[in-house]
Structures are given as C-alpha cells and as structure tokens.
C-alpha cells in the first residue's frame, strides 16, 4: 500500500530547476532511500514534501490526502515528521525537553490552561515527559536525557532529533542525512535504530550519502541527479545501474579537478 505518493513535483528557484518532474511512491512499512550527487535536489524535495517549501507544480498525497499546499505544522499533524541535515535542536533545552516539544502537536494545553496549572495541563506534562523518556530509551540515549542540547556530541544530537520526530507519533519519518558526522559505532547504532523504528510500524524515507548504510537498510532506492529521477529500484539493481554509476562517477571526476 502506498503511504506517500509524490507525482510530477517541480520546484524552481529563479532560473534553476531544483526538482524537475519527480514522481515516486513510498510503501507502508518500508525504508526508502533518496540518493544522488550533491545538488541533486534531495533536500529541496524533502522541504517540498514537508511543507517548508512550496512546489511550483505537482502533487503530494499522504495517507490519501493531498498535502501539496499544507504548512509544516499541518504536515506534522497529518503524521509526517522530519529531521534536518543541520540538526535543529533547541540548544537551551535538555535532550528530554527537546523530545517533549515533539509531543506539542498532540497536546491541548494552551496559555490559559497552563497559567492556572489545571490538572489536565499537569497530566499532559507527565505523559509528554514519560513518552520522551521511553523514546530516548528506545533509541539508546537515555543517559543523555538531562544534558543540555548544546552540550551533546554531534552523533547524539542526530539521535535526539530522531527521538523528537518520533514523539510526534508519525506514520512516516523523513531523515535528512542522519549519518552525516557519525563515527562507525554511531552509524551501526543508527542502523539498529532505523530497523527498530520500521519494526514499530513507522515507514521511513531517508536522504543519505553513506552508501554502505543506504544499501544495507533500504528496501528501495530513488536516485536523483540534477533535479531529475534517473533510477528507482531495490539496492542490488541500483548498484549495477549504469546511469547511476555514470552520475556518481561524473560527480567524482568534477570533484577531482
């Protein structure tokens, strides 16, 4: 069953077409990877899907509803959560508090209810705190719960951001380069986390440069190059695809100059 279907999405910035008529589907319960050389339009596509950028043309249907014009907040509420290539943690807050913000969208406590410390507000607070603790434990970073985000190592920051996204209770989790800046051990832990997330019933769409990780975890891969989709399929086919190889070799040749 298709959870997310992206159809003919195009996004231009002035004269540059960052995403050019891209279509693909993400099936429930799978891990799908979005790969491509630098500047292929992966992050832009992520931003378009999650409502951070407006697409010029095309459609994004998520869980049966069109979300092409939705704002980030509405996208989150519809069950899609994301992380960022440059982690966007709240530095003055602890890891646990960061994850608790992820529960915001599901909570009702407003300024008025909190001003009078209504029992409902306090009950919600406990639920959010317990949820955060549970998620941090699931991801294996509970020891860092009470550390300020600004004091966390880069690898842990990425994992906290994933926990925060999970706190929104998403059906689909979008990860933008989760392995960037991670060492080997941390990358292995990330792989375990991804499997745990998928096994808990959450579908995953991941942008990633670490090919080892991509080939290991993903059920299907979409390859973008200069804004266009050039290939789509299971890892073993993508690895051998001459078009994909050419795109990556081309990039390396340019970088070597």
């Amino acid at each position: 069953m298709s959870l997310l279907s992206v159809s003919n999405v195009t996004k231009r910035f002035g004269g540059l077409t960052a995403v050019d008529d891209v279509s693909f589907e993400v099936h429930t319960g799978t891990i799908k990877a979005l790969i491509g050389p630098n500047g292929a339009g992966k992050s832009t596509l992520f931003n378009v899907i999650t409502g951070f950028e407006r697409m010029d043309t095309g459609s994004v249907v998520f869980g049966g509803s069109e979300i092409a014009q939705a704002k980030p907040r509405q996208v989150v509420r519809s069950g899609m959560a994301r992380t960022f290539q440059n982690t966007q943690l709240f530095d003055s807050m602890t890891a646990r508090e960061n994850v608790m913000v992820g529960s915001q969208a599901r909570q009702a406590t407003g300024f008025a209810a909190s001003a009078f410390r209504l029992p409902s507000a306090r009950a919600e607070e406990r639920v959010a705190s317990d949820d955060a603790g549970r998620l941090l434990r699931m991801i294996g970073i509970h020891d860092w719960a009470d550390t300020l985000a600004s004091d966390l190592p880069a690898g842990i920051r990425r994992l906290v951001e994933i926990a925060r996204a999970l706190a929104t209770q998403p059906k689909l989790l979008l990860l933008d380069e989760p392995a960037a800046g991670l060492n080997n051990t941390e990358t292995h832990e990330l792989v375990d986390t991804l499997y745990r997330v998928r096994d808990s019933g959450i579908t995953v769409l991941v942008v990633e440069h670490d090919m080892g990780l991509v080939m290991e975890v993903s059920d299907e891969i979409v390859v973008l190059d200069r804004g266009r989709k050039i290939a789509e399929g299971p890892p073993r086919l993508i690895q051998k695809d001459p078009v994909v190889i050419a795109a990556y070799l081309g990039e390396e040749a340019v970088e070597d100059d």
């Binding site: 966007q88 709240f90 807050m93 407003g110 909190s114 507000a121 985000a149 706190a167």
Partner: protein, 326 residues
C-alpha cells in the same frame, strides 16, 4: 542546603520579605520607590516571556505602559468607570496594541524586528504628546484617582505598595506556570530554532502573537498602576529610553528565566533612587550616578552579552546544575 531546597526557599523568602517590607520601612518615599520597583517588575515579567523565552525583541514596550496608563486615566476621569474596570480595560487595550506589534514579528527577525518595535514606540510616544484633546498633550493628564475596589480606596503608601506587589506576584505566578508547561516549551523552542519548532508542529505564528499580547497586557496593567499610584502622567514618561531600560532589565536578567529579570528590574530601578536608599550619600554623588544611568545600562548590556550571555538567569542555572552534580 541543597540546590533543590534553595530553588523553593529563595522565592518563598523573597515573597515574605516583599510582603513584610511596609512593616519594616516607615519612610513613605522609600515605600514609593519599592512600589515603582513592583510596577517595573510587572512590565519585565512580560518582557521576560517575550524576549527571554520566545526570543522576540521589543524596543517599544513603554508604548504599552503608556497605552495602559492613558486608558486607565481616560476610563476613570472621563468615563467615571470603576477602578477595576479601568484597570482591566488598560490591559485589554494594550493587549490589542500588542497584537498589532506582533504582525511585523511574523516577518521580521533580530535587528529588523528591533527597528520595527522602536518605530512603534516612537510613534506611540509622539501620539501621546500630539493627541492633546485625549491625552492632555505634553502638559500631561492629571487628577487620576487612586485605585479603589468598590468603596475601598487605596491611598496609603503601604496600601499602594501591597496592591502593586500583589499584581506583580500574580503575574509572576502565572508566568512561571506558563513557562514550566507546554506553552513555555513552545516559546523556548521558537527561540532555539524556528525550523525545529515548525517541524515539531509548534504553531509558530500563534505562539509569537500570544507572547506579544501577554507581554503587552502586563505592560498595560503596569501602566494603569503607575497612573493610579502617581495620579499624573505625561508623554515624557513613555519614551523610547524607558523602553530601552525595560529591555536592559530583561537582557541583564537573562534568557529563559523569570527570577533573573525580576532581580535586574529591582536593581536597575533602585539605581535611579540611590539617594533615597543610602541615607548618607551626597546629593551630588547621587546625581552623578543618575546622569550616568543610560551609560550604565548600555555598559551592563554590553558586558552581559560579551561575558555572560544568558544573563543572571543563565549564571544561576549553571551554578545550580554544578551544585546538583556535586
């Protein structure tokens, strides 16, 4: 004593000390000075929410104090409204103004937002001076009655002091509840990373508007208290430099804290009345300090930004974290 007990004990002792002050201090002028401290605390609690938690700069908050003060004056003198009604109206009208000022905050950030709020403050200040038929113009508005609750008129120095500090205490209680729950996290998230907050489903627009409105309501209520305590208001009070003073209190007090800004509000307000506090001080020495006031605020802001970002609040948090670990 552990840091945990300190965190409960300090506010409690402070509250008792503030409530008991009129029994200890008999000098009426000194009581008035501490009443002004309370009025500034009400303004700064709002600014602490707006600046220290939600991360939105305002250089126009004295405009809301002015709007509250003139609303209270007009309601009581011209419309003969009961004082509690005038007091509430001051908060409501200022809150509406806060909603107006929130609009640029949805598009502008940092310096640009500071400029927009500065312009708002300057415009309001001009309007108070020019709208002579309503505000009495530069000559001011006099004959504003003392606060009253039904037949009870509060006119003694200690009565006014308690009224002002009761409002300040309630404002602090409400604000501290807000910041410890979901709205507080939403504001801090907004401050930390707007993208991150959006990705968590935080209603960024709603939170900004609410923070502006709440801080404007508190400034408006403080203005009503000021007008009723003094009985006379004029445009010279609600100036941009007063806004800078309020912001200085919030900056020095620190981000993510209520106690810090309250302490800073008290210290900076008392600095103005040095001659009343230190009996032996020569008039000339006091005047020298007062004439350097703006320089002192400016220097303090620079020192805080350079050496103690996060202000008093952050210093306290760091110490208490270290204390807990030890």
């Amino acid at each position: 004593m552990s840091w945990r007990t300190l965190r409960v004990a300090v506010p409690f002792v402070a509250a008792v000390a503030v409530a008991a002050l009129p029994f200890v201090v008999s000098d009426t002028f000194l009581l008035k000075v501490f009443t002004y401290v309370g009025i500034n605390v009400v303004v700064v609690v709002g600014l602490a929410l707006l600046f220290g938690y939600a991360g939105q700069v305002s250089l126009g908050h004295s405009a809301f104090v002015g709007i509250g003060a003139y609303t209270c004056a007009l309601a009581t003198v011209r419309m003969h409204a009961p004082w509690p009604v005038a007091f509430a109206a001051a908060g409501i009208v200022a809150g509406a103004g806060g909603m107006v000022l929130a609009l640029p905050s949805l598009r502008l950030r940092g310096h640009y937002l500071a400029m927009a709020t500065l312009a708002f403050g300057e415009l309001a200040s001009l309007a108070f001076g020019e709208a002579t038929p309503i505000t009495g113009g530069v000559d001011g508005f006099s004959g504003i009655p003392f606060p009253s609750l039904g037949p009870l008129v509060i006119r003694s120095a200690s009565g006014l002091y308690w009224l002002v500090w009761a409002v300040a205490g309630i404002a602090l209680l409400i604000a501290s509840s807000m910041v410890s729950l979901r709205p507080g996290r939403a504001m801090r998230a907004l401050h930390g990373s707007e993208l991150g907050a959006q990705a968590c489903g935080v209603d960024v627009v709603g939170v900004k508007v609410r923070a502006f409105v709440i801080s404007a309501v508190l400034a408006g209520l403080a203005g009503a208290l000021y007008a009723s305590v003094i009985g006379f208001i004029s445009p010279s009070v609600f100036t941009v430099s007063a806004s800078v003073t309020f912001l200085a209190m919030a900056v020095i007090g620190g981000t993510g804290s209520l106690a810090g800004p309250v302490l800073a509000a008290a210290l900076l307000t008392l600095l103005t009345y040095l001659d009343a506090l230190i009996p032996g001080i020569s008039r000339q020495a006091a005047q020298t300090v007062q004439s350097l006031q703006a320089d002192v605020y400016g220097l303090a802001i620079i020192l805080v930004v350079l050496f103690a970002p996060g202000g008093i609040g952050a210093m306290w948090r760091r110490k208490s974290r270290e204390g807990e670990r030890a």
